[in-house]
């Protein structure tokens, strides 16, 4: 089972104390990320996929608080790290890229300044060497004429190019893990295809493990080795990419896959749709959060949260349907 796991997150809970009650944004999430793989984290807005990763990076600010859990990077729990220690991890061993590249770059600073800063801090290089490294990275991500463009400001790049710059910056210190938080959601389809291809190519070439957070099932299908599905702060299903799409077990995953119109299977029939709205995660009762929307809901779903049912090595699902008879 332990095939070169580099990041193991176990029972992570991140709660936000608000005036309206406790928001259990992440509630008992566990997963492991293996060397060189691409792991997909799927869920709708508010399901806690971003907060999960921000927690691992310790980027949760008040009123949010990590209540419990561990995140072991190469066997060492980084949730116990101090700010000082975390700074050596962020951007160095674990890097992140975000949805909107414009808001994650500083508009006042040249690309060179922003890139050199990171590289000098983590790689102990002098300015000249760091600049050379920046240019090399920009070249790697396919920015034409990198030695000139490195001196440009973020606004001089287009959306797709900015995301390339972000990727170059994130990979400049050879991180072991790249967390990509909806990296293509703000981009057009043709640009999205370019960026996904780039991430895939770099993943294979550099062996960086990629954590792909997205709401787009198509992106997951094309990119990931394994997939985790989240709903209302909880991990409802895990499995390999083929298993999840071929044989989704959790009613939520089934609904999600069936409700997307597909280009390869044109049909004018009614789309399947999951009834109701995603739940408000404030003061959720201890039942299955999907219960009110579930077509296969049973009495037990109302009163107790289902345990993990394992199918083989890779497959896990949290649903009472599969606990029956056990």
């Amino acid at each position: 089972m332990s095939k070169d796991v580099i990041l193991r997150v176990d029972n992570l809970r991140t709660y936000f104390n608000t005036d309206d009650g406790v928001v259990k944004a992440v509630d008992g999430v566990s997963y492991d990320l293996r060397k060189g793989e691409t792991l997909g984290l799927v869920g709708e807005s508010g399901s806690g996929k971003s907060v999960t990763n921000l927690s691992v990076m310790q980027l949760i600010s008040s009123p949010g608080k990590i209540m419990s859990g561990t995140a072991e990077l190469d066997g060492v729990d980084i949730l116990k790290y101090s700010d000082e220690q975390m700074r050596k991890i962020r951007g160095n061993r674990i890097s992140m890229i975000f949805q909107d590249p414009m808001t994650s770059l500083n508009p006042f600073l040249r690309i060179s300044t922003q890139m050199v800063e990171t590289i000098m801090l983590h790689k102990k290089l002098d300015k000249k060497a760091a600049l050379a490294r920046s240019i090399e990275m920009l070249d790697l991500v396919g920015i034409p004429n990198p030695s000139a463009r490195v001196n440009d400001y973020p606004h001089q790049f287009s959306g797709g190019m900015r995301q390339r710059v972000m990727i170059a910056m994130a990979l400049s210190c050879d991180p072991e893990i790249l967390i990509a938080d909806e990296p293509t959601s703000a981009l057009d389809v043709t640009i999205q295809a370019q960026i996904l291809e780039l991430i895939q190519e770099l993943n294979q070439r550099l062996g960086t493990a990629v954590m792909m957070i997205t709401h787009d099932l198509g992106v997951v299908a094309g990119m990931c080795d394994r997939v985790c599905v989240m709903y209302a702060g909880k991990m409802v299903e895990k499995g390999t990419n083929t298993e999840i799409f071929k044989d989704p077990k959790h009613p939520y995953t089934q609904g999600l896959i069936n409700s997307v119109p597909r280009l390869d299977r044109p049909s004018k029939e009614r789309l399947f749709s999951i009834k109701g709205q995603p739940p408000n995660v404030i003061d959720l009762p201890e039942c299955c959060p999907f219960y009110p929307r579930c077509e296969k809901a049973m009495d037990i779903c109302k009163s107790k949260y289902p345990p993990v049912t394992a199918f083989g090595e890779e497959r896990e699902v949290r649903c009472w349907l599969y606990e029956e008879g056990k």
Binding site: E44, Q192, A193, G218, A221, V260, P266, P278
Partner: protein, 334 residues
């Protein structure tokens, strides 16, 4: 085919926005957002308008609804040209033409209750004595509409912030239906919604179309959504329609290289299919529409470009005088 009624005809629609610059702020250029768009919309059908950001699809819808006064061309709605019309005449024409907007957070007034939002179009026409309904009848109709779109009538006094994104979009749909329109311009109505909510709204729009015989101009950037909802699809690039055809035909046999690339770039939620697909990856970005090109607007990114494309503009035309029209020299000689 022949008996189909043309509800809306757009002829050579142009929407150019001026760019001002210099010390005295004189006009130094134009953004050619929509540059010569023509199409017909038949009664009861759904025409999908698809393209990447900045290609002019929203501007086209807004220019049709006269939210922008077009700088050129004609918008013939129910037999009358409404381009550039103002006041009473425009109000009258727009009674049968309503819009649904993309962002259900920005398109509803946060200080109005859902009931008054839905009633507003009726009140506007009532005040101008163009609609003969009493206050009580309006309230009754609001409640009917709310139930029609799947909201409880008891939500009438709630404010937009009390609804979720999907419910808000339902309010937007109810508002668009209030005046019993014949044409609905839906500008990315599901783009801001989550997958599970998106399918609910798409089904709702489909049901309403069947029930009221509505005609949709449906704008989206998601090709799978467009394919699902549309009878015909028009693909836009840089302010022009590059290809228009029946939905099935377009997705099976795309002719324009841009349509081909666009279709191949859409990720499909099935790992098996994804593995064996060939993607056409376009180089570069969508260029800015701030100048007119002497040739085909797709020339810079086209994988199949020829010498001819650089200096001559291809015309939207069918290669075999059928319904499938394309603006590309690979298929037409004009």
């Amino acid at each position: 085919m022949a008996e189909k009624n043309v509800l809306l005809e757009v002829k050579n629609l142009q929407m150019h926005f001026p760019i001002y610059g210099g010390i005295i702020k004189k006009q130094v250029g134009s953004i050619y957002a929509v540059d010569g768009v023509s199409f017909k919309l038949y009664e009861g059908e759904t025409l999908g308008l698809v393209g990447e950001s900045g290609c002019g699809k929203s501007t086209t819808a807004r220019a049709i609804a006269q939210l922008h006064t077009p700088t050129g061309g004609e918008v013939i709605f129910q037999g009358k040209n409404i381009a550039g019309k103002k006041g009473h005449e425009l109000l009258k024409a727009r009674m049968d033409m309503q819009m649904i907007f993309q962002d259900p957070y920005a398109s509803l007034n946060p200080r109005m209750t859902s009931g008054s939002i839905i009633a507003e179009p009726m009140n506007i026409y009532r005040q101008r004595r163009m609609l003969d309904l009493s206050r009580g009848e309006i309230t009754e109709r609001v409640e009917q509409l709310m139930e029609k779109v799947g909201l409880s009538r008891y939500f009438r006094n709630r404010y937009p912030h009390e609804f979720s994104g999907g419910q808000r979009q339902r309010i937007g749909v109810a508002r668009a239906l209030a005046l019993n329109p014949r044409l609905i311009l839906a500008d990315e109505p599901v783009s801001a919604l989550d997958v599970s909510i998106q399918s609910q709204i798409l089904n709702l729009l489909n049901d309403l179309q069947k029930e009221f015989g509505l005609t949709y101009l449906f704008i989206a950037h998601d090709l799978a959504v467009i394919e699902h909802i549309s009878d015909r699809v028009a693909v836009m690039y840089l302010g022009k329609i590059v290809e228009i055809a029946e939905s099935k035909e377009l997705y099976k046999h795309p002719l324009h290289p841009y349509t081909e690339a666009l279709l191949s770039a859409v990720p499909i939620p099935d790992p098996e299919v994804e593995k064996n697909r060939k993607r056409i990856i376009l180089t570069g970005d969508v260029p800015s529409p701030d100048r007119r090109r002497p040739g085909c607007s797709f020339y810079d990114r086209c994988p199949k470009k020829m010498d001819k494309c650089k200096n001559a503009i291809p015309i939207l035309k069918s290669p075999d005088s059928g319904e499938h029209q394309v603006a590309c020299f690979l298929h037409n000689n004009e």
